[in-house]
Symmetry: C2
Subunit: 219 residues, 2 copies
Amino acid sequence: MKRGVGQGGYSLREKIFLKLRQDILDGKYKAGDSLVELKLAEEMGVSRTPVREAIRQLELEGLVYSIPNKGVFVEGITGQDIEDIYAIRECMEGLAARWAIERMDEQSLKELENLCELMEFYTGKGDLDRVGELNSKFHDLIFESTKSKPLKQILIDFQYYIGNIRLASLKSPGRAEQSLKEHKAIVEAFKDRDVERGERVLVEHIRNTRLNYEKMRKD
Amino acid sequence: MKRGVGQGGYSLREKIFLKLRQDILDGKYKAGDSLVELKLAEEMGVSRTPVREAIRQLELEGLVYSIPNKGVFVEGITGQDIEDIYAIRECMEGLAARWAIERMDEQSLKELENLCELMEFYTGKGDLDRVGELNSKFHDLIFESTKSKPLKQILIDFQYYIGNIRLASLKSPGRAEQSLKEHKAIVEAFKDRDVERGERVLVEHIRNTRLNYEKMRKD
DNA sequence: ACACCGGGGATTGTATACAATAGAGTCAAT
DNA sequence: ATTGACTCTATTGTATACAATCCCCGGTGT
C-alpha cells in the first residue's frame, strides 16, 4: 500500500482533515480561496476520495462552503468570529468549571496540577510554544472532566479555532506570567472543590485572555 | 441519471445525511447499532460513496463513532446529553437575545411577530405539530439575527438534537398555551429593543421548557 | 456594438473496482 | 481439552472510471 502523507494510526481522511483544518486556521488558505479536490489530492499523493471526505467534514464545521458542481471555498474565521467565540466561552466556561469541579476525579485533579507545574517550568524557561501546548491540554482536561459530550464538543472545537490567536496573545509581554497566576488560582479552587470560586476565576481567566487579545489587536 | 432518494435541490450526500441523522434522532437506530455502508447504500438505492460521506459528517457531529476496518456504530444522544443541552442553552440564549436585539433589522422583527401570530393560530386549532415547526423557525430566526456564525452553528445543531423532545414536551397539557405566552413576551421585549428584559424572558422560556421536559420525563 | 447561443474545459457528483484489515470460526498439534 | 496458526468472510479504506453540471469564451446574427 502506497502512502503519501505518512503513517501514524490515523486514516488518510483523518490526517487530511487535520492538515487542511490546520492550514486554514494558519491562514495558508485565505477566505475565498478555492480548494480543488484533484489538486489537493495530487499535492498529497492520494486519490480524491479521502480528500472529499475531509472536505465534507470541514464543510460541516463551517470552515469551507461548497457550491455544487462549482467548487468549495474557504470561509475561514473572521475577527468577529473570534470575538464571538470569546464571548461564548465566557458563558460556557463557567458551566464547565461547575461541572468539572463536581465530577472530576482525584487522578485528573493531580494531572491538572501537574500540567500547571509544567507550565510554570516552561514559562520560566521562556518556551512559550510549549506553554501554549500545555495550556490547551489544561483546558482540554477541564472540558473532559465535565463528562458532558455536548459541552466538550463545543469547547474543544473552539479551542482549535482560536489556538493560534491564543498562542500569539500569550507572547505579548507579561501575559504568560499573568496567565500562569490565573491557572494556579484555577487549580487551587478546583482542589478545594469550591464551585463558586472556580467558576469565578475561570471566567475571569477567559475574560483576561479576551482583553489581552483585543489589546494586542490594536497594535 | 438514476436516483433512488428523490430530488429536491440537495445532493445525495446531503439527503442521506439528513435522513440518517433524523433516523438516529427518531430512535430508528438505537445506540450500539452498527451502520453498514453497503447495506444502507442498497436500502437507499445508491452507491457507497455518498453514504460514506454522510457517515463521516455524522461522525464529526458525534452521533456515530467509527472503528477503522470494523464498522461504525450509533452513539445517539442520551438523557444526560439532553439535560446538558438545556443547561448550555440557558447560558447561550441569553447571549443570543442580546445580540439579536442589538442587530436584528425591522423586517426580521416583523417576521418574528408574524411567526408568533401563526403559532397563536395553530395553538388555538390544536395543531401542535405545526406549532412545533413554527417554534423551531422562531428560534432559528433569533439565532440568524445574532449575525454570529459560531453561535448560530451551536444553537441550530442543538435545536435539531432536541427537536423531538421539544415537540413531545409541547404536547403535555397546558404547555402549548404557556409557551405561547412566553413567546409573546419575547416578541414584546424584542420590539422594545429592551436587552435586559429580552434576555430575561428568553432565558426563562428555556428554563420552563427544561422544567417541563423534566416533569414529563418522570411519567 | 451587442445580445444570444453553443462548444468545451474544469470541477464536482456518483458508481464501481480493488486492497487492507479485523475478527470469527476451524482444525490440527500437543 | 487447549492453544495456536490459518483461512475465510465481512467490512471498511482507497483509487479510479464515468456522468452531470456549471461557466467561460468565442462565434454569429442583427
